[in-house]
């Protein structure tokens, strides 16, 4: 649907309709007024004749009247077309043939007749107005009976005179409004076009935007009705551009994380090729295998992160943290556990949580593997849970080196390593933990343990089912 088309059709249609109403009203008015005027004129002509005829019959010279009427309408032709100038003359007007007069005596003998009148009675002998078709034309007729001598005076007038006057009156009265209407219509078109221009400008601006060009719309000249729309679009574009930027950065990070082990593997392969003794070739092969393992782990973690799609999660279930942690620990290889003792506190088995069990398992595995990686040989990792009125707090404490205060802020970001590159982490473990926490509306925080070690706290909100909050 086009607003412009709707506005133009609506406004111009209304304009046309009002014009039609004015036209018909004017025409009706003219019809009524002209009819009254002409009817009055017929009656008046009749009355003048009445004045002459209201005396004894022998005193009236009917031939004289007949001749006068005949002379005045000497040269008329019904079908001739006249212009205004030639119709008027000193002796009369050619339109006189459109008027007719008959005078009858009481025995219905025709005494007087204008040339335009037939020999038979135009109307019934009955007082008043009537309309009758004579020949090709309708006539308006006024009939009057003179009681003194029984004469009938019939005055008549062709209807087309009236019609002509009505037409002329209506058309001339409409010329002004019509010209006005045309201006009005042009004005409407101009105003609608001009009024919609900001909308067109705005859509042009939006059309110019794309994924690489998401700068805000310029709203300086935008009318205030469109500003909320523009602002909403700007807000959306800002969010999208942040998302795009985040994705771009993430891709850059992935590129870095994938290319670095590849670079190492390629160098090791070439080092091996250039080596002359079998011992060092073997040594380089071992390094290559380690590089491949690291890349595999990185790709698995990336896929895990990619699969954490809230739309594919299904419904949360009641989970016991201790059970899930126990399963994760059972699945650890001795190499991964690397001589670290993992201690599960009883509280873990008393705590029930409404959560996605598969995700919790991934989360705990990442946390435990991470803690193992940084723990000293023979160290202890402690897992505990605590339930308060509003939260379930899960705590994991290791005896690793901990991190600096500055680094505490960066933990959980993608590809950030606690101890840069000295251990073989993918740099994604804690971002997976952070993402899973986010999906559970939980908050992750890190702190340093005393005397040393890292403490991971995860605060799960308890969802009250009885309506308290």
């Amino acid at each position: 649907m086009s607003i412009r088309r709707f506005l133009l059709a609506g406004l111009l249609g209304t304009l046309l309709l009002s014009f039609a109403v004015i036209f018909f009203f004017n025409r009706y008015q003219a019809f009524v007024e002209v009819g009254e005027l002409y009817d009055a004129q017929l009656a008046q002509s009749s009355r003048i004749l009445q004045g002459f005829l209201n005396r004894p019959t022998d005193e009236i010279d009917f031939d004289h009247i007949n001749n006068a009427l005949l002379a005045a309408t000497q040269s008329y032709s019904e079908n001739e077309v006249h212009d205004d100038a030639s119709m008027r003359s000193d002796s009369g007007h050619k339109y006189e043939y459109k008027f007719a007069i008959q005078i009858w005596d009481k025995n219905t003998n025709l005494l007087v007749k204008s040339p335009s009148a037939p020999l038979y009675a135009i109307a019934d002998f009955k007082n008043g107005y009537s309309i009758k078709k004579i020949g090709k034309f309708n006539w308006h007729i006024f009939t009057q009976h003179l009681p003194s001598n029984g004469y009938w005076i019939v005055t008549a007038e062709r209807a087309d005179i009236r019609q002509e006057i009505i037409d002329k009156l209506t058309y001339s009265s409409l010329a002004g409004p019509l010209a006005g209407m045309i201006f009005l219509a042009l004005g409407v078109i101009a105003v609608v076009t001009k009024g919609l221009q900001p909308l067109i400008d705005l859509s042009q601006q939006i059309r110019e935007r794309n994924i690489d060009k998401l700068e805000p719309l310029v709203l300086e000249k935008t009318p205030k009705e469109l500003i909320p729309l523009g602002q909403a679009v700007n807000l959306l574009m800002e969010q999208v551009s942040q998302d795009v930027e985040r994705e771009r950065r993430f891709l850059g990070d992935i590129a870095h994380e994938l290319r670095t082990p590849l670079a190492a593997m390629k160098l090791n392969a070439q080092n091996g090729l250039y080596s002359k003794d079998i011992y060092s070739v073997q040594n380089f092969l071992i390094k290559i295998v380690r590089g491949v393992d690291r890349s595999i782990r990185l790709i698995e973690q990336l896929l895990t992160l990619a699969r954490l799609d809230p739309r594919a999660l299904g419904e949360p279930e009641i989970c016991v943290l201790g059970d899930i942690a126990q399963e994760v620990i059972n699945a650890l290889s001795p190499q991964q556990q690397s001589g670290v003792h993992i201690y599960l506190e009883k509280s873990l088995f008393n705590t029930q949580l409404n959560a996605y069990p598969d995700l919790l398992s991934v989360m705990l595995r990442n946390l435990i593997e991470n803690a193992c990686r940084y723990s000293p040989e023979g160290g202890t990792i402690n897992l505990a849970a605590e339930q308060t009125a509003d939260n379930i707090i899960f705590t994991l404490t290791d005896q690793g080196p901990g991190v600096s205060e500055q680094q505490l802020q960066s933990l959980g970001k993608r590809f950030f390593r606690e101890r840069p590159a000295d251990r073989m982490g993918s740099g994604l473990g804690l971002s997976i933990v952070a993402r899973i926490a986010e999906l559970h509306h939980a908050q992750v925080s890190f702190s340093n343990a005393v005397p040393q070690g890292l403490v991971v706290n995860i605060l799960f909100p308890v969802i009250h089912t009885n309506g308290n909050s």
Binding site: H256, A264, M265, K266, N271, F284, K287, R294
Partner: protein, 221 residues
């Protein structure tokens, strides 16, 4: 040739060390920007390989800092990001060259040779001194078209002196370019290397400046 490697990735750092050692580079390896700047302030390096993706201070910042501190040492950037802006940012920040990971060992070596050639103000890849000709690409030395076989450190001393003809290099300067932090330095090792070079090359190029160091005279044409 003394080279500072700034790389936080354990695996890549190790592989680079393994790759560069046989090519007469003495590689010292640090894993973050702070340590890189500290090492530069303390010792002389002839070339730096700098990774951009470092923890804390990233490669760009390290580069800017070391250029602000007027270190003119050639820098080869290692980057994992192939976006144009990264390259431009790196070069504008004062890098002399960059390599995209993963890279080829031969290309890395060629770029390093080009960097030291430019630093020494040479355009041709060979080092010629009279009848002596050295090809850094395969580290071969010849005199009057007769090949001469030098040990790794002997080769390094000769190159160092040839790239600084006319200047007397102190014992410490020579030792710094020969030994990394992990190398044991014998007190008279340098004398032994010089002695061997003198024995292997038919003419005596190296002049001992008593109490100061060693030099090779500038050639007059």
């Amino acid at each position: 040739m003394r080279l500072l490697l700034v790389e936080d990735d354990l695996m890549l750092g190790e592989a680079l060390q393994d790759a560069l050692m046989p090519h007469s580079y003495v590689v010292d390896w640090v894993k973050d920007g702070e340590s890189a700047l500290k090492s530069l302030r303390r010792e002389h390096f002839e070339i730096i390989i700098l990774d951009i993706g470092l923890p804390g201070m990233d490669g760009f910042e390290v580069l800017k800092k070391l250029r602000t501190e007027k270190f003119e040492v050639p820098v080869l950037l290692l980057t994992a990001r192939d976006s144009l802006t990264d390259k431009v940012t790196g070069l504008d920040a004062g890098a002399d060259d960059y390599l995209l990971k993963p890279f080829d060992l031969d290309e890395l070596l060629a770029r390093l040779r080009a960097l030291s050639r430019r630093a020494a103000g040479r355009a041709i890849p060979f080092i010629n001194y009279g009848k002596l000709c050295i090809n850094p690409e395969n580290q071969t030395v010849s005199y009057d078209n007769q090949p001469i076989v030098l040990a790794r450190r002997e080769y390094m001393v000769l190159i160092k002196l040839l790239e600084n003809t006319g200047r007397v290099l102190s014992r410490e300067q020579l030792e710094q370019s020969l030994y990394g932090w992990l190398d044991d330095v014998d007190s008279n090792a340098l004398e032994v290397h010089i002695h061997h070079i003198r024995k292997k090359i038919p003419v005596d190029l190296i002049r001992t400046v008593r109490g100061v160091g060693y030099t090779i005279n500038r050639l007059h044409h």
